[in-house]
């Protein structure tokens, strides 16, 4: 007699798999850590996404305050329309957070985002893509910023991976 496993692993049986959705929309927050990655993220944000929200962390550095990097988690994000958003609230209402930086850029803002993720136990994925200086030394510098905080760190050779990854994660 045919075993259950033998019977159930045929292409015919695959046709009987439940067709109802097996997941709900997730809230991905994608945050650019530097000006170059902000430009990349802005471009990617124009595509059609499954609820992903895109931000820059430029407020942390470029515009001084408001709330700032002082360790009290009162830092702010900017969405791509230029509106100021509360980092903590955004992270709280996320399912996972992706930070993106370009090689050689100052990515220290990640530490504040990581604090917010830690507060709410959110998963933080880091992505390093080539910047103007894509030397090994510059990559290592970027890695030093992100490594202490990310559960998964990807060093990609092209910016096309950002879209591929976000799509794969149903962002």
């Amino acid at each position: 007699m045919q075993s259950e496993s033998a019977k159930m692993t045929t292409a015919h049986e695959a046709g009987f798999r439940v067709q109802y959705p097996n997941s709900k929309q997730r809230a991905a927050k994608v945050i650019a850590l530097d000006p170059a990655s902000a430009a990349i993220v802005e471009e990617i944000s124009k595509k059609s996404w499954n609820g992903a929200a895109f931000f820059t962390s430029l407020a942390f550095t470029a515009e001084g305050n408001p709330g700032a990097v002082g360790g009290d988690l009162k830092a702010w994000l900017k969405d791509l329309a230029g509106r100021t958003m509360d980092l903590v609230a955004e992270v709280e209402h996320s399912d996972f957070v992706v930070v993106i930086t370009t090689t050689g850029a100052d990515a220290r803002a990640v530490s504040v985002i990581a604090d917010a993720c830690a507060l709410f136990n959110k998963s933080l994925v880091g992505l390093i893509v080539p910047g103007q200086d894509d030397s090994d030394a510059a990559t290592t510098e970027s890695m030093k910023y992100l490594r202490p905080y990310t559960r998964m760190l990807v060093i990609a050779s092209g910016t096309d991976y950002i879209e591929a990854m976000l799509t794969a994660l149903r962002a």
Binding site: S5, A6, T9, A14, N22, F96, R147, R151, M165, L169
Partner: protein
């Protein structure tokens, strides 16, 4: 998650498909040398990339991989007589050499030249490291021979097996780069298996059950690093190389032999899982070889006389629910290879990736798919030679080592990740 068209693109490797063209850029393991042990031995049926072929070793020891079927009436040449430097069809006596050239058509006068006009498709078949390798692409684009270290060390330093896996190649291969499943599915084997236990690095696996991952692109594919906390401001790294399209290495443990896999499509619903073990600088011990033959480590026990695992879908993989409950195995299935195969086959013949819900730690898989799609499209659309064809890309090694916490492993482990003749693997 992949779109259906992306999934189809990656999973279909038959003749004329984009991924089939892509696979035909590479040398692939076709048979074990033991399958054609001597001149004029019985021929062996081979199906690769959706093509039915026949392998044989002629009277002079020359190897051939040809279309399985006689050009006359289409019978299988597996029934043929391997004799006098050729394979003779038993139906009407047509005879073929290792290149597929018909050399005799008994019903036609020799002088007619009829035989010269009959030629079966054939592919080169070469022997290296106990493996018979084939290249199924255009002859004018045949790359240099493979240089994977397991196939270039002396034969007493290497051991290779293969097993049939009844699912598409991609879901099998993805298991080879999915480092995060090891802590669940294979837990327990670290301490019991003679080919793993006793390594100094095992303590880091035990102490830190939440590895953190870093994925880095390499010239030939990817490096997937899993790091765990270690003493003295260091991380314990286990680095898995993937070489396009279907080679994966497993990071070593202590001085145990190093192992890894090739995942070779048979057709779209079956593949060969090749499993190697080798040591770069010493002969394998009798004990190690005995353990490998007994199905330990990445190897399996077989249905006698076949390359089908003894535990397979027909016997529900010898599922042991009591063992699962007692914690002897996590899944109830014994042995690393079958633990993987049982779950990968359960996905169905071709995994429906439109329904997946991947997470951040799946980035190794996401990146591998991305690189495969990108490289296959570049090859099919623009003729760009894919990564992994250059034999230099084969000389990557898996590694397990301690590095300072601020070191990029691609740099810090640069020497460890390169195969060097006579140099021991880097392992903890």
């Amino acid at each position: 998650m992949l779109k259906k068209e992306q999934n189809d693109y990656l999973c279909q490797t038959g003749p004329g498909t984009p991924m089939g063209n892509f696979f035909r850029c590479y040398w692939q393991p076709a048979l074990l040398s033991e399958e054609l042990p001597e001149p004029d031995c019985p021929p062996v049926r081979v199906k690769l990339l959706g093509e039915r072929l026949l392998a044989f070793r002629d009277s002079e020891g020359k190897l051939g991989l040809i279309d399985e079927f006689c050009a006359h009436r289409g019978v299988s040449l597996w029934f043929g007589r391997n004799e006098d430097c050729g394979l003779r069809c038993p139906y009407h006596g047509w005879k073929y050499d290792v290149t597929g050239q018909c050399t005799e058509v008994p019903s036609e006068p020799t002088e007619s030249g009829y035989a010269k006009k009959i030629k079966l498709k054939s592919y080169p078949l070469i022997e290296q490291g106990g493996v018979l390798w084939t290249y199924m692409g255009p002859p004018e684009k045949q790359p240099p021979l493979p240089q994977y270290e397991f196939s270039t060390v002396p034969l007493n330093q290497t051991f290779m097996t293969k097993r049939i896996q009844e699912c598409n190649w991609l879901q099998a291969m993805e298991g080879g780069i999915d480092s995060s499943h090891v802590s669940f599915l294979h837990r327990g084997d670290l301490h019991n298996d003679p080919l793993f236990k006793g390594a100094g690095g095992n303590k880091y696996n035990m102490q830190d059950l939440s590895p953190v991952f870093e994925v880095v692109e390499s010239d030939g594919g990817l490096l997937i690093g899993a790091r765990r906390n270690a003493e003295d401001d260091q991380y314990y790294w286990r680095i898995t190389p993937w070489v396009m399209p279907n080679y994966t290495g497993v990071p070593p443990r202590g001085d145990h032999p190093m192992h890894g896999h090739f995942w070779v499509p048979i057709d779209d619903e079956n593949c060969w899982a090749w499993s190697y073990d080798y040591h770069p600088t010493r002969a394998l011990t009798d004990g190690e070889v005995a353990a490998m033959k007994d199905g330990k480590g990445v190897h399996v026990k077989y249905v006698p006389g076949t390359y089908r695992p003894l535990a397979n879908k027909d016997n529900d993989y010898l599922m042991d629910r009591a063992g699962q409950k007692a914690g002897r195995t996590f899944s109830g299935v014994e042995g690393i290879g079958i633990q993987d195969a049982s779950l990968q086959e359960s996905m169905g013949p071709i995994c429906d990736r439109t329904k997946e819900n991947l997470v951040g730690t799946d980035n190794g898989i996401i990146m591998a798919r991305h690189r495969l799609l990108r490289a296959a499209r570049a090859f099919n659309d623009k003729g760009v030679q894919p990564p992994g064809v250059n034999p230099e890309h084969h000389t990557v090694r898996q590694a397990a080592l301690l590095l300072k916490r601020d070191v990029q492993y691609k740099d810090g482990a640069k020497e460890a990740l390169k195969a060097k003749k006579g140099v021991r693997q880097t392992s903890v």
